[in-house]
C-alpha cells in the first residue's frame, strides 16, 4: 500500500480515536493536545480531503445543531481500507522499532 504523510496518518488516527465525534473542530483540538503543535482548521481539512479522495474515510452531514448557529457538522469515519491502512502503518512502525539498540539521548 501507499504510505501516508505524517499529517494524514495523525488525522486518520484521530478520526478513529474520536469515533462519532470525529469532525473538524474536535479533531483539531485533539491533534493540538496530543502533538503539542497548533493544528488549525485548515491543517485538518486538507488531510481529511485527501484521505477521502484515497477512500480511507467517508463523511456525512449531521442534522443542524443550535450550538453552531444552525449549521451542519461533517462527521468522518474510517472505511474498511482506512482501518487496514492504520493497521498497516502500525505494523510498519513496530517493525521499524523492533530489534534496535535502546535509544538514549545523551544530556
Amino acid at each position: 500500500m501507499r504510505l501516508l504523510t505524517r499529517s494524514e496518518e495523525f488525522v486518520l488516527l484521530a478520526v478513529w480515536r474520536l469515533q462519532e465525534n470525529a469532525y473538524s473542530v474536535p479533531l483539531s483540538e485533539e491533534l493540538t493536545r496530543q502533538t503539542g503543535q497548533k493544528w488549525s482548521l485548515g491543517a485538518v481539512y486538507m488531510p481529511l480531503e485527501r484521505l477521502q479522495k484515497k477512500g480511507l474515510v467517508t463523511s456525512y452531514h449531521t442534522d443542524s445543531t443550535s450550538e453552531r448557529g444552525g449549521r451542519q457538522k461533517r462527521i468522518y469515519e474510517l472505511t474498511r481500507s482506512g482501518k487496514k491502512a492504520l493497521l498497516a502503518i502500525r505494523t510498519v512502525e513496530e517493525r521499524m522499532w523492533s530489534g534496535i539498540r535502546s535509544l538514549v539521548v545523551e544530556p
Binding site: 469532525y23 473538524s24 473542530v25 482548521l41 481539512y45 452531514h61 443542524s64 450550538e67 453552531r68 448557529g69 449549521r71 451542519q72 457538522k73 461533517r74
Partner: protein, 865 residues
C-alpha cells in the same frame, strides 16, 4: 464576515466549514469574551485572502499558459494571417511610438530646467484698432524695472541675439556663428544649463566675457581648456572665455553656441523703453503667482510706455508667458522655432489613426476567421469554458500579437529614427529606460484591447449547438457588414491622407510658380555686417567695374526673407490710428537689380543720408525723410489710388517724419505663407544688410570669382559668402515641403496598412469560396469573371470610402490653406487622382489572391469531399 468566508473558501460544499468557524467562535466567546471571538473570526477570514490570491494567480497563469500555447499554434498555423497582422501592427506601433516620442518631447520642452514652472517670459503685445501684434521681445529696462518694483521676483535675465551672424576667430580658426547671445549674469540662476568649466555665478559679470558651449569650445580650442583664453569677435573685440557649458539639450527652446556678458553692451542703449530687442525672463519666488504681478506690469506700462504708445496710436499690454508654454504657443519674433500646438495636434491625430488602422486589420481578420474557429470555440464551450474565459483567450491572442508587434515596433522605430528626424526637421532623443518600457507595455495593452475586444465578444457569443450542427458560418456572415464598415473607414483615412498630400505638394508648387513681382535670376546675395558698412560704397563701385556685373544694390534685407515691422501713421487725416508696416531700407539702384516697378511717383534719387539704423540704435529724427509705399500699404492706409498717396505726410516709428514720393508694385518680400503685407521703403546708401549683384548669365563662374577677389582685397579679414536669390526663394517653403513629406509618408503607411488588411480579407474570402469558385468554373465561368467576382465587393467599398474621404479632405485642406496668401485650387482631378491611386493599389492587393483563385482547377478544389 460569513459571506466573505463563503466567497473565499475553495469550491465545494461550504456548509460544514462555516459551521466549524461558528463553533470555534462560540468556544472563544465562552472562554475569552465576544470581543476576542470577533477578533479571531476576522483575522482568520482575512488570513485566507493571501492564499486565495496566490491560488487564483497560480491557476490563472496555468490557463494563460494554455491560451498562449493555443495562440502561438494558431499563429503558426495561419502564416498569412499572422504575417499580415504582425506587419501592420508593427508598422502601426513603430509609427505611433515615434510620433509619441516626438509629441512627448514637444510638450515637455524646457521642462528640464529646475523650477521650470516658476520661469516666465515678459511678452509685449501692441494692440492697434484693427490688429494685435504679439511680441516675445521686450525693452532693456523692463527686467530691472520689474525686479525693483515687484516683490517675489527672484531673478530676471535679459537675452538678445548678438547678430544673425558673428565672426569668431581663435588663432587660424575662424567661422561665422549664428547663435550668439548677450545675457545677464543672472542667466544661470534662472536657467539650469550645466556649467562644465568656470563659475556660473560670476562667468557673465565682467564686460567682454564669453561663455562657450562644449561643442563651440571643441571647435575653436580642440582639447585645450579654453578658460582664460581669448576669442576675437568680428575682428575687433577680444572676449575672455570665462566658462564652458554643456550644449543646450534638443528640447530647449533657447539654444545658443556662445553667450557674451550683458555688461559688454553700451549702457546708453539700455534705457530706451521703445526699442525691443531683448527677451526678458523672470523667475518668480515659490508660491508667487503670475496673476499677482499683473498690477505691477500695468503700472509699468502706464509709467513708461503708455504716453509714447498713445501718440503712435496703439496700446501696450505686458503679460507673462510660462516658459513651459512657449514651445506650444510661440509669439511674434520668438526664439522658439516650434510650430505650435496645432502641428502637434495634427501629428497626434495621425498617430492614433494609423495605430487604429492597424488594429482594424486584426479585428477584421479575427472576425472573418471566426467561422473557421467556431469548432474550437464550440468545443471549449461544451467542455465548460465560460464566456469570460473565451474572451480572455481571444484577448490573449491579440495580446501576444500586440506584444510581439510592440517589440518589433520599438526596433523598427529605433532603426527609422534618423529618417524620422529628417521628416520632422529636428533631432529626437530616443528615451531608453523604464519610461519606455512602461510605455511599450501600455501600448501593447492598448493595442490588444483595441484589436481584441470586438473579436472576443463575437467569438464568445457563438452558440455551441449552432456550430456543432454545422451552420457556424452564419454568424461570420453577420459580421460582414461590420467588417465592411471598418474597411471603408481604413480607406477613408488613407484616401483623405492621399488627397491632403497631393494638395500640400500642389500648394508648394503653386507658391513657387507664382511670379515674385521681381526678377530673382542671376542675382548674387552677399551679406554685409556692421564692420563693413563703411566699405560698402567702395565695394559697390568696384563690383560695378567688373565685366560680368550688370547692377549692384544695397538693402537691409534680401527679398523673400521677410522684414521687421514698425508703426506708421497718416498725418493728413488728423486721426490717431496707426498700423504696422514692414520696412525696408534700400539704396537708389534697388529697382535696377530687382526689376520691381513703380505704380506711381518716382523712386529714390541718390542723396546724402545717414546709414540705415541697426539693432538697438534709434533712427535719426531730425531729417525729413522720403517714403515709398507698396500697393498694399496704400490700400490699407486708406487711399483710393496710388496717385492720391503721393506727396502725403507720414509718421514712421512714432517719431520719424516724411512724405510719400512713390508707390511700388507689390512683390514678394516674404514667403507666401503670410498674406501680402504693407511695406514702407526708405532710402539709405549703406548699412548692415546685403549687397545684391545682378550677374550676366554667360559669365557666371568668372564673375563670382572676380567678386570674391574684390571682396578679399577690400575685406581681407572677413570670409566671402554668397548665395543666389532664386535659391533663397526656393528654400522659402522648406517647412511646407517638410509638411508634405511628412504627410506623404503617413499616407503611404496608412495605404500599406489598409492594403495589408485587404489582402488578408481577400485571402480569407478566396479560401472560403474555393468550392463556390470551382463550381462556377466548372459551369463555365471565365477567369476574368472570377477575378471580378472577388474584387467587385472590395472595389465597391473603396468607392464608398472615396466618397466619404473627399469632403473630409476638402475641409481639412481648406482650413490649412487659410494660412497662405495664395491658395492652389482643389480641382476634381485631385480627388479623382486620389481615388484612382487607392483603387489601383487595392486592386494590386486583391489581385494576387483573386487571380490565384481563378487559376485553380475546379477538380482540385472539389476533390476534398
Amino acid at each position: 464576515m460569513a459571506w466573505l468566508l463563503d466567497r473565499l473558501l475553495p469550491d465545494g460544499d461550504h456548509r460544514a466549514p462555516l459551521g466549524d468557524f461558528e463553533e470555534i467562535w462560540h468556544h472563544i466567546k465562552d472562554e475569552r469574551g465576544t470581543l476576542r471571538a470577533h477578533a479571531w473570526y476576522i483575522l482568520a477570514v482575512l488570513g485566507l485572502i493571501p492564499r486565495r490570491i496566490y491560488n487564483s494567480i497560480y491557476f490563472g497563469l496555468l490557463m494563460l499558459q494554455n491560451y498562449l500555447k493555443t495562440s502561438w499554434r494558431n499563429m503558426l498555423r495561419n502564416r498569412t494571417w499572422s504575417a499580415v497582422n504582425l506587419l501592420s501592427l508593427t508598422l502601426g506601433t513603430a509609427c505611433f511610438l515615434l510620433i509619441a516620442i516626438y509629441v512627448h518631447e514637444e510638450s515637455t520642452f524646457d521642462a528640464f530646467h529646475t523650477d521650470a514652472d516658476r520661469i516666465y517670459r515678459v511678452n509685449v503685445d501692441f494692440i492697434g484698432q484693427s490688429y494685435t501684434f504679439a511680441n516675445a521681445l521686450s525693452a532693456a529696462p523692463m527686467g530691472p524695472a520689474i525686479q525693483t518694483t515687484a516683490s517675489g521676483v527672484d531673478h530676471a535675465v535679459r537675452i538678445s541675439q548678438v547678430r544673425p551672424e558673428v565672426l569668431l576667430q581663435v588663432g587660424s580658426m575662424r567661422d561665422f556663428e549664428e547663435n550668439g547671445f548677450y545675457a545677464d549674469s543672472t542667466l544661470f540662476h534662472v536657467f539650469s544649463f550645466e556649467m562644465l568649466e568656470g563659475d556660473p555665478g560670476s562667468a557673465l559679470v565682467a564686460p567682454q566675457s564669453v561663455v562657450l558651449t562644449a561643442s563651440t569650445a571643441r571647435k575653436y580650442f580642440g582639447r585645450k581648456n579654453p578658460l582664460g583664453e581669448f576669442v576675437r569677435m568680428d575682428n575687433t573685440t577680444d572676449l575672455t572665455v570665462t566658462g564652458v557649458v554643456q550644449d543646450p539639450p534638443t528640447n530647449s527652446h533657447f539654444r545658443f553656441d556662445f553667450l557674451i556678458s550683458f555688461s559688454s553692451l553700451n549702457p546708453e542703449r539700455l534705457t530706451n523703453w521703445f526699442s525691443n530687442p531683448y527677451y526678458t525672463f523672470l523667475k518668480l519666488s515659490p508660491n508667487k503667482s503670475e496673476a499677482s504681478l499683473r498690477p505691477v506690469l500695468a503700472r509699468l506700462v502706464d509709467d513708461n510706455m503708455a504716453a509714447d504708445a498713445a501718440s503712435a496710436g496703439v496700446s501696450i499690454r505686458l503679460w507673462l508667458q510660462p516658459l513651459l508654454d512657449i514651445r506650444m504657443n510661440p509669439q511674434g519674433n520668438d526664439l522658439s522655432d516650434g510650430r505650435g500646438a496645432g502641428h502637434v495636434f495634427i501629428l497626434s491625430g495621425i498617430a492614433l489613426f494609423i495605430l487604429f488602422l492597424a488594429c482594424i486589420n486584426f479585428v477584421n481578420l479575427a472576425t472573418a476567421r471566426s467561422s473557421t474557429r467556431a469548432k474550437e470555440v464550440g468545443m471549449r464551450k461544451v467542455i465548460g469554458a465560460s464566456r469570460g474565459q473565451l474572451m480572455g483567450q481571444v484577448l490573449g491572442e491579440s495580446g501576444l500579437l500586440g506584444l510581439i508587434a510592440c517589440l518589433a515596433g520599438v526596433a523598427s522605430a529605433r532603426a527609422a529614427l534618423p529618417w524620422f528626424e529628417s521628416l520632422v526637421g529636428r533631432t529626437v532623443a530616443f528615451p531608453f529606460g523604464w519610461e519606455l518600457t512602461l510605455f511599450i507595455l501600455g501600448l501593447a495593452i492598448l493595442v490588444s484591447l483595441l484589436s481584441g475586444i470586438v473579436p472576443a465578444i463575437q467569438l464568445s457569443r457563438l452558440q455551441p449547438i449552432g456550430i456543432l450542427k454545422g451552420n457556424g458560418g452564419q454568424s461570420a456572415l453577420r459580421g460582414a457588414a461590420f467588417r465592411n464598415a471598418l474597411v471603408v473607414f481604413q480607406f477613408t483615412v488613407s484616401v483623405a491622407l492621399i488627397v491632403v498630400t497631393i494638395m500640400v505638394y500642389r500648394q508648394v508648387g503653386y507658391m513657387k510658380s507664382i511670379e515674385h513681382g521681381i526678377s530673382t535670376d542671376q542675382i548674387a546675395v552677399i551679406p554685409v555686417n556692421e564692420p563693413q558698412v563703411a566699405a560698402i560704397p567702395t565695394l559697390k563701385e568696384q563690383f560695378l567695374r567688373l565685366p560680368g556685373v550688370e547692377a549692384v544694390t544695397w538693402a537691409n534685407r534680401a527679398p523673400g526673407t521677410g522684414a521687421s515691422g514698425n508703426l506708421i501713421r497718416r498725418l493728413d487725416t488728423g486721426e490717431d490710428d496707426s498700423m504696422e508696416n514692414k520696412y525696408i531700407f534700400a539704396d537708389a539702384s534697388y529697382l535696377d537689380v530687382l526689376g520691381a516697378s513703380m505704380v506711381a511717383g518716382r523712386y529714390f534719387e541718390p542723396h546724402p543720408a545717414p546709414a540705415a539704423p541697426s539693432l538697438g540704435s534709434p533712427m535719426a529724427t531730425d531729417v525729413r525723410r522720403q517714403f515709398i509705399l507698396n500697393e498694399t500699404s496704400v490700400r490699407m492706409l486708406g487711399w483710393a489710388s496710388p496717385e492720391e498717396a503721393i506727396g502725403q505726410p507720414l509718421e514712421f516709428g512714432g517719431s520719424v517724419l516724411g512724405d510719400v514720393i512713390g508707390v511700388m508694385a507689390d512683390f514678394q518680400f516674404q514667403p507666401l505663407t503670410v498674406s501680402m503685407q504693407p511695406v514702407i521703403f526708405q532710402y539709405a546708401p549703406a548699412g548692415q544688410g546685403v549687397l545684391m549683384v545682378r550677374v550676366r548669365t554667360d559669365r557666371l563662374p568668372e564673375s563670382l570669382a572676380s567678386l570674391e577677389d574684390v571682396w578679399n582685397a577690400q575685406q581681407p579679414d572677413w570670409p566671402f559668402m554668397v548665395t543666389f536669390l532664386d535659391d533663397e526663394f526656393d528654400a522659402l517653403y522648406a517647412s511646407e515641403e517638410q509638411f508634405g513629406r511628412m504627410f506623404s509618408t503617413f499616407a503611404i503607411l496608412a495605404v500599406v496598412i489598409a492594403c495589408l488588411g485587404l489582402f488578408g480579407l481577400a485571402t480569407f474570402s478566396v479560401q472560403r469560396r474555393r468550392r463556390e469558385i470551382a463550381i462556377r468554373k466548372a459551369l463555365g465561368a471565365t477567369d476574368g469573371g472570377v477575378v471580378l467576382l472577388i474584387s467587385r465587393k472590395f472595389g465597391l467599398l473603396i468607392l464608398v470610402a472615396n466618397v466619404l474621404a473627399w469632403p473630409l479632405a476638402w475641409v481639412f485642406v481648406k482650413d490649412w490653406q487659410q494660412a497662405f496668401a495664395v491658395q492652389a485650387s482643389m480641382t476634381l482631378w485631385v480627388f479623382l487622382g486620389a481615388g484612382a491611386i487607392s483603387l489601383l493599389i487595392a486592386a494590386l492587393a486583391v489581385s494576387t489572391q483573386s487571380i490565384q483563385a481563378s487559376r485553380t482547377r475546379p477538380a482540385e478544389a472539389l476533390r476534398v469531399e
